[in-house]
């Protein structure tokens, strides 16, 4: 049975909670200090996105094992307004909320796999994975 644990994102405290969860899972999987920080940063960005644009949602963290590799998978879901133009949001330098390099392109670069599904008025699901090397 795979490990999976979720945190509801309702306020800024939940961002800290889900960061903590992600960092612990990354530690347990033996990710190094730098990768721990990267995974936490990615989670933080995803949580902030939910908090800022959807108001609420949840983030689940999974340990995954495949072909002898282990990794951490992060699923961020919300029922917010959805992203009108995903291509635009994935462009560098588009994000105005974060600093340089933040936003979803930043998350994509911090992680190994990135998938996004967004439907206007239904919500957004983002799934990202980082593999232990």
């Amino acid at each position: 049975m795979e490990f999976r644990s979720c945190v509801k994102i309702l306020n800024e405290w939940d961002i800290v909670a889900v960061r903590q969860l992600g960092r612990n899972v990354a530690k347990e999987l033996n990710f190094g200090i730098v990768d721990q920080a990267r995974i936490t940063t990615a989670i933080s960005e995803l949580a902030r996105n939910i908090f800022l644009y959807a108001g609420q949602g949840q983030i689940c963290i999974e340990k995954i094992f495949k072909d002898g590799k282990s990794g951490v998978k992060i699923i961020a879901e919300d029922n917010g307004p959805g992203i009108q133009d995903v291509r635009k949001v994935m462009e560098d330098g588009f994000s105005t909320s974060g600093g340089l390099g933040a936003g979803l392109p930043g998350v994509k670069r911090l992680m190994d796999d990135f998938d996004i599904d967004s439907k206007p008025n239904e919500g957004t699901t983002i799934i990202v994975t980082k593999w232990l090397r």
Binding site: I15, V16, A17, R19, Q20, R23, T40, T41, S44, V86, R87, M90, D92, G93, G98, G99, L100, A102, F114, D115, I116, D117
Partner: protein
């Protein structure tokens, strides 16, 4: 105190609090501070120096080695500082360029704008999305006085600004064409214009079709353009809308063959640019077969809904990175 010193003070505070209680809350504050520092253009070498002074405050007996090691860290971080400064400037330039391209794109839209004709017997849907900032794809509808509808779909070999520039140039040629001419003759006359006027390294593929609502015949010719599909609704089968013909701009005296098909009720004509079929995923190009399967899923929707859904689906399986301009037109005989 100015905002710089406030941020430095904040950094000092976070570290001090963290030393007495190492919790995630403080690390999160660190991340938020990072954003702020960048917002106020603090450079990475300044952070290193700040950190060094805080360590001295924290540990008055800090060993000389630890202190000296920071000289090297600072030196190495200078390179990152240079990159960071270049980034800020590049980002501004990028922003300006985007504004400029946005204006040019709007000019292009106005210039190339075409209205989808309203016809009793034909439901028409069209979508065209540039891969980059500007499109080298082009489509155009015309209705002549006999009620026939002409449809052109073209692709400049090349993308982006050069293709857009080229497209604007041949647009004039299109406008000066006479109405009521057959597809093969239209391509032949356009070919002469392109051959004469456009950069010798620019080639254009074009498909021209003409639908007659009286006899439901669809005449078409192609200048090296990606074949579309004909969908026979009775047998629920797709066949390629193949047609021979050289690209526009290669040879002055090129002649184009003309083909025709007959549309029954609910039959479809699907026209596209190679950006639709050469949709590249992690696993390689999609097959034309996969495309027809996707179209089939939405076959009961209106033509416009169909093209929108197909685009959305192909956009996602390419991870939102189009490699080529994407143009898809669906004609559905409804009466």
């Amino acid at each position: 105190m100015d905002s710089r010193s406030l941020l430095e003070q904040k950094y000092r505070e976070i570290i001090n609090n963290y030393l007495s209680d190492q919790n995630e809350q403080l690390l999160y504050q660190g991340q938020k501070l990072s954003r702020k520092l960048i917002e106020y253009s603090t450079t990475p070498e300044e952070i290193i120096n700040l950190h060094r002074s805080i360590l001295i405050e924290l540990e008055p007996n800090l060993s000389q080695s630890v202190l000296s090691s920071f000289d090297i860290l600072l030196e190495v971080m200078m390179g990152y500082g240079l990159a960071y400064r270049e980034h800020q400037s590049l980002r501004n330039q990028q922003q300006q360029l985007k504004t400029e391209i946005e204006i040019a794109r709007n000019m292009q839209k106005t210039l190339l704008g075409t209205k989808i004709p309203k016809m009793k017997s034909l439901d028409i849907g069209a979508i065209s999305v540039p891969a980059k900032h500007m499109s080298g794809d082009y489509y155009h509808f015309v209705e002549d006085e006999n009620g026939c509808m002409g449809v052109a779909i073209a692709d400049i070999i090349g993308k982006g600004i050069p293709a857009a520039l080229c497209m604007s140039m041949i647009k004039y040629a299109m406008d000066s064409l006479q109405e009521n001419v057959q597809p093969h003759a239209i391509l032949e006359s356009l070919n002469r214009v392109v051959e004469q006027n456009v950069d010798p390294n620019m080639f254009i593929s074009m498909f021209y079709g003409m639908y007659n609502p009286i006899d439901h015949q669809f005449l078409f010719s192609s200048a090296g353009h990606e074949p579309g599909f004909f969908y026979d609704s009775k047998h629920q089968q797709f066949t390629d809308l193949s047609a021979e013909g050289l690209l526009l701009g290669i040879e002055k005296k090129t002649k184009y063959k003309q083909y025709d098909i007959s549309l029954q009720k609910n039959d479809l004509v699907i026209l596209l640019s190679d950006g639709v079929t050469e949709c590249r995923t992690k696993e390689g190009f999609i097959e034309r077969k996969i495309l027809t399967e996707i179209i089939k899923k939405y076959i009961d929707l209106t033509a416009q809904e169909m093209v929108n859904h197909v685009y959305k689906e192909l956009e996602r399986i390419q991870a939102f990175q189009l490699r080529d301009d994407f143009t898809l037109i669906i004609l559905k005989r409804v009466n």
